[in-house]
Amino acid sequence: MDFVSFLIQVLNSLQYGLLLFLVASGLTLVFGIMGIINLAHGSFYMVGAYLAFALTSLTGNLMLSIALGIPLAFVFGALLEWALFSHLYKRDHLEQVLLTYGLILIFEELRSLMVGDDVHGVTIPELFSASIPLSDNLSYPVYRLVISVVCLALAGGLYFLIQKTRLGMMIRAGSHDRDMVKALGIDINLLYRTVFALGVALAALAGMLAAPISSVYPGMGSSVLIISFVIVVIGGVGSVWGALVAALVIGFADTFGKVLLPDLAGLMVYLVMAVVLLWRPEGIFKKG
């Protein structure tokens, strides 16, 4: 592999890893703070992608669609928490698995009823549709760089939110000791609803950003969900920074796996997970 194609793969790995981080961060927060295992989290990624597709066909502009889509996804998440997930906090993991598995079926069929089962494309905004030439015949699309930059900015924003704001303080306290937070008079229901909606919005945003490069297709949520599980397992439940590191590790493992060992590409991610499990069964960044 020469330097330019190596550079392209590194950029691809970063972009893929950072996008996965957006999905996995919400998943790990919901696990860590509310103790909920949410199989339907991948569906939010799919909802985001289809939202981008639907809104872009309406407005003709992806960036405007994303600006509209984020608040929609946030409200959708808050409604879902109110209607369903708020009943799950006291149930055991098994019932959570079951209910969210049922939700996947519902979301997939609603998608099929409303949009059909065809693969759809979403056009890249004109502003970012160029490619940067790296050598005579290789170039790198600007839009992928934009995704990486947006995801990095969001990771920074998430860091600020969790470490420097009052809401973040409550989130950290909530993931450490739920009952104590309740006892201190913090409105735990509102906190849960906010965190859940935030997770939904992040996953949907990842779907919206990915729509132009991966296109929009049935079942796109499932593959992302399982990879996100692997990331949460590697990073440690509840640890956003663990999720970031693990997402990047997975991004590199998957991208370079596809280049170097194409026959085993699908397995690479799981091999990484197996190694981490042997080394640290509770994830790399499991607290205390």
């Binding site: 993991h93 996947i104 997939e108």
Partner: protein
């Protein structure tokens, strides 16, 4: 239900199953056979979920591995020998469960659910991405295994009726085996692990070994189901290992009420029944399925078998005999 009426009910169901081919058409006999196979699958998972307290979300892997094992062992123009293929497939599934168990049993709770799912997905990709088993198209099993022992064949699996009773016998054997296992000291330890693993540890039980043994046994029995499923339908695809399959079997266990072998069988009947009803109503039957599941979790904690007791209890003014 007290134990006497329960036994009578079970015997009546068994009599119905045994007599079924005399009245039902071949189509329905095949469906009953499918339900019985899925009942084996569900019972094997119940050993983990219901009795040992291990929520495995990757149980389809062992089902699929055994199905692939028999398909790969069958030569292109000849049948495989049943008495070799069956143990070998079950062994393959058990071995896979043993190796995966070494990894996944290092984790607990939410991690365990996610890791079992991830390993099953890994097995799925082995068959989906590599040419081992025909890739994403899967492979056909052109010949059903031959039951001959030294030239003498006690039965012929190509006969639908013989296959039907073979499946019934297998289901009864697995049911009986699990009953024995659960009654044994080993089974008591598993139930002890479910209620309090730390206590079992301090009593001096090496719980990891017990869990690994349970995980391996459950995988092997799921292999029995996978083997029969492949033989019944004559083809194997990577979808046998998919996480939807793992979700479905978990659904059967929970629908039937965990920690209850008869419940697991009832769950298999209920799930196949629901699928048949919903597919006859609409192409988008998964929507109805999803809504049913969500409603069941919200309004029916404890599963199907617990619900009659709950309703009775409500009629009796809140007194339960659970």
């Amino acid at each position: 239900m007290n134990s006497r009426t329960s036994t009578i009910f079970k015997l009546a169901v068994l009599a119905g199953v045994l007599a079924f081919p005399a009245f039902g058409s071949d189509f329905y006999a095949e469906m009953v056979a499918k339900v019985l196979i899925l009942a084996i699958f569900a019972m094997s998972l119940d050993l983990l979920v219901g009795f040992t307290g291990l929520v495995s979300f990757g149980h389809a892997a062992y089902f699929g591995i055994a199905a692939y094992a028999v398909a790969l062992m069958t030569p292109k123009y000849d049948p495989a020998n049943l008495w070799l293929a069956l143990p070998a497939s079950v062994l393959a599934a058990g071995l896979a469960a043993f190796v995966i168990g070494l990894f996944v049993l290092r984790t607990k709770g939410i991690y365990f659910i996610m890791v079992t799912l991830a390993f099953a997905q890994m097995a799925y990709y082995v068959f989906h991405d590599t040419p081992v088993g025909g890739g994403s198209d899967g492979i056909y099993l052109n010949f059903k295994p031959d039951a001959a022992i030294a030239g003498w064949a006690p039965f012929d699996l190509n006969e639908p009726l013989h296959l039907y009773y073979f499946v019934v016998a297998a289901m009864l054997a697995v049911y009986g085996l699990l009953k024995l296992v659960l009654r044994s000291p080993f089974g008591r330890v598993l139930v002890g692990i479910r209620s309090n693993e730390h206590r079992m540890l301090s009593l001096g039980y090496a719980t990891f070994r017990y869990k690994l043994a349970a995980f391996t046994l459950a995988g092997a029995l799921a292999g029995v189901a996978g083997f029969l499923y492949a033989v019944l339908f004559g083809f194997v695809t990577p979808e046998y290992l998919s996480w939807h399959k793992s979700g479905d079997v978990l659904l059967m266990v929970i629908l039937g009420g965990m920690g209850n072998l008869a419940g697991a069988i009832a769950g298999a009947v209920a799930l196949v029944g629901l699928q048949e009803i919903f597919t006859s109503v609409t192409k988008h039957w998964q929507l109805l399925m999803g809504l049913t599941i969500v409603a069941a979790v919200l309004f029916m904690p404890g599963g199907l078998t617990a619900t009659p007791a709950r309703i009775l209890a409500r009629i009796n003014g809140g007194k339960t005999n659970e």
